[in-house]
């Protein structure tokens, strides 16, 4: 497991990019700016203030799985366009673009691995693929991960990062909620365990389905975990939102999380759970 490492920081307080938005490598917590390799070296955690930057699915797998142990499953699944959905652009175009941009077939990667030598099934989401939205491919991949975990009698570890259901698949995206719930229940009935790791953000349909059904549920610091996002809550209710609205810290206080685990400690923490769940009376 990677320990916290001190390195020299370049580009502190970098100016915003030309489009006015801050550079993705600029820390929203403290304004420090990093090179890609610096961030990578620190597991995308700001060495100054511990802000957790987003982590791509492949990097997450590299963090959790023992080196070379990951064997991907169902990599060839792609969505077609069941509704012929067209907003400002066709859904098929958005899909193709996301695949090119991320190198992924959809917003979840699943497969077998070992983690500190414990065998495990992984289901890891990638927010970069259409906001980590859950359509039929994500639902199907998650269900297959549950089935693989049951078949191999190993725990399932899921890592979520999702804006919710993929509305371009209409009502079929809503159906991924019960579909993934059924998959977890089948896994449980087969004696399997699920450990749910919520990364930033885990919201809407993913929070309201499988992510909330882990035997153990943990989150990364500062992750937004809410069924409805703060903007919509504010607009709908005109309530004053607490500063930590929907954040992992608030969810922990209200009893929804077993722990908040900083990324550098995540692998050790999960390994401990795998030893426990692999060891039933």
């Amino acid at each position: 497991m990677a320990a916290r490492i001190d390195v020299s920081i370049e580009h502190k307080h970098a100016p915003p990019q030309t489009d006015g938005r801050p550079h993705p490598n600029t820390c929203p917590g403290c304004g420090s700016h990093y090179r890609d390799d610096e961030l990578e070296q620190h597991l995308n955690v700001c060495p100054q203030c511990s802000h957790h930057f987003p982590m791509r699915a492949r990097a997450r797998i590299a963090l959790l799985a023992d080196e070379g142990s990951f064997a991907e499953e169902a990599a060839d699944l792609r969505s077609d366009d069941p509704l012929g959905f067209f907003d400002l652009r066709p859904y098929t175009e958005r899909l193709a673009e996301a695949e090119v941009a991320t190198g992924l077939g959809d917003a979840m990667v699943i497969g077998q691995a070992t983690l500190d030598d414990s065998p495990v099934e992984l289901a890891v989401m990638d927010f970069a693929f259409m906001g980590g939205s859950m359509g039929r491919v994500v639902g199907e991949k998650f269900a297959r991960a549950c089935e693989a975990a049951a078949d191999h009698q190993v725990p399932l570890v899921s890592v979520t990062a999702s804006g919710g259901a993929r509305m371009q698949e209409g009502i079929l995206s809503l159906m991924q909620l019960p579909k993934t719930v059924c998959a977890v229940e089948d896994l449980h009935d087969a004696g399997g365990a699920m450990i749910s790791i919520m990364a930033h953000p885990t919201t809407a349909g993913v929070l309201a389905s499988f992510a909330s059904l882990g035997d153990v549920i943990v989150a990364e610091p500062g992750a937004l975990l809410s069924f409805t996002g703060p903007r919509v809550v504010q607009q709908t209710t005109r309530e004053k939102l607490p500063d930590d609205f929907g954040l992992a810290e608030s969810n922990y206080r209200f009893g929804h999380l077993d722990a908040i685990v900083p990324r550098p400690e995540l692998k050790d923490y999960v390994a401990r759970l795998l030893r426990l769940f692999g060891n039933a009376g």
Binding site: R78, G105, L177, P178, C182, T228
Partner: protein
């Protein structure tokens, strides 16, 4: 000449017959379902007809859960409270007799006048409402009572306290309880089937939908605001994501459409209730003979296989 929906269905049937069996797809059941749809399908609705459904589903005079309860159930006893924090009036639960058989009922409840609308929170439940629903589901399970759920909500309530009390997790757990239930479950979308707040009580053996109800992952306004960056484009959004009963049937999300009086359910609540009662009764009759293990297995398979067939392998 065959309509577009029919053509699409025939195409899918052909595709099905030639595709390799995807795990979890339960292909034979799917074929049957498509064949049944073909037998029943009406012509593809136009964009205007879809929007008309949105309007009728939200019509202020549309019958709500309790309007059907008083027409469908005898000896109804409303059950209150989540046994922990509150009694959420946006979700009604109770026991009653349906065609001589004791059933448990769970339904969203909107209000008719301003005062009741506020009390019922416009049919938008808090986590406490879903916890009450789960309690009554478990009661039904314990006594083998069939469960009827009536779905009519713009969505789960999007407020600060609702989030703090675990709206997302509660919706997930409510679905999980339904997947474990040993008694038959029939759900019907009777108005707005709004997203997570709807599916929380709609993981059923038979999912019905009234002719002018809508069932969707997001409201037309919400979808328009996100994708068109203009909530005013709701009509366009609705046409794009097709929340109407015809499309839901075509996509396999619902099992049957419950007819309404010709101008909409609100024009004749008694007739609507009779039609609804008939459909629910027919569905229950199909289910009561099944063992609890069978029911659960089929219920999970139903949702496990939804939409699986449209997934394709990368070229």
């Amino acid at each position: 000449m065959p309509g577009e929906a029919e053509v699409q269905l025939r195409e899918r049937l052909n595709r099905l017959r030639s595709l390799p069996l995807l795990r979890g797809a339960r292909l034979s059941g799917e074929l049957e379902r498509l064949q049944r749809q073909l037998d029943r399908i009406v012509a593809e609705p136009s964009d205007e007809q879809i929007w008309r459904s949105v309007e009728l589903a939200r019509h202020p005079d549309r019958p709500y859960t309790l309007d059907y309860v008083e027409r469908m159930l005898e000896d109804f006893v409303e059950l209150h409270g989540d046994r922990g924090r509150a009694d959420d009036a946006a979700l009604v639960t109770g026991l009653g007799r349906f065609d001589g058989r004791t059933v448990a009922l769970i339904g969203h409840q909107k209000g008719r006048d301003i005062q009741e609308r506020s009390k019922r929170n416009f049919g938008m439940a808090y986590p406490e409402g879903y916890r009450k629903a789960m309690r009554v589901m478990e009661l039904a399970d314990r006594h083998g009572f069939p469960l009827i759920t009536l779905v009519d909500t713009p969505g789960a309530y999007p407020g600060v306290a609702a989030e703090q009390h675990g709206q997302g997790g509660m919706i997930a757990r409510s679905q999980a309880v339904m997947t474990r239930l040993r008694s038959p479950i029939v759900s019907c979308i009777i108005g707005e089937g709004g997203s997570g707040g709807a599916i929380a009580i709609a993981v059923a053996d038979r999912v019905l939908m009234q002719q002018n109800a809508i069932y969707s992952v997001i409201s037309p306004e919400g979808c328009a605001a996100i994708l068109w960056r203009d909530a005013g484009e709701a009509q366009k959004a609705a046409a794009a994501f097709k929340p109407d009963a015809g499309h839901c049937l075509e996509l396999g999300v619902i099992d049957a459409i419950v007819p309404e009086p010709s101008e909409g359910a609100h024009t004749d609540p008694d007739a609507s209730a009779t039609l609804l009662k008939d459909s629910i009764g027919e569905s229950l009759d199909e289910l009561v003979g099944l063992s609890s293990d069978d029911l659960r297995r089929r219920r999970r398979d139903r949702f496990r296989s939804l939409g699986t067939l449209e997934i394709v392998k990368a070229p």
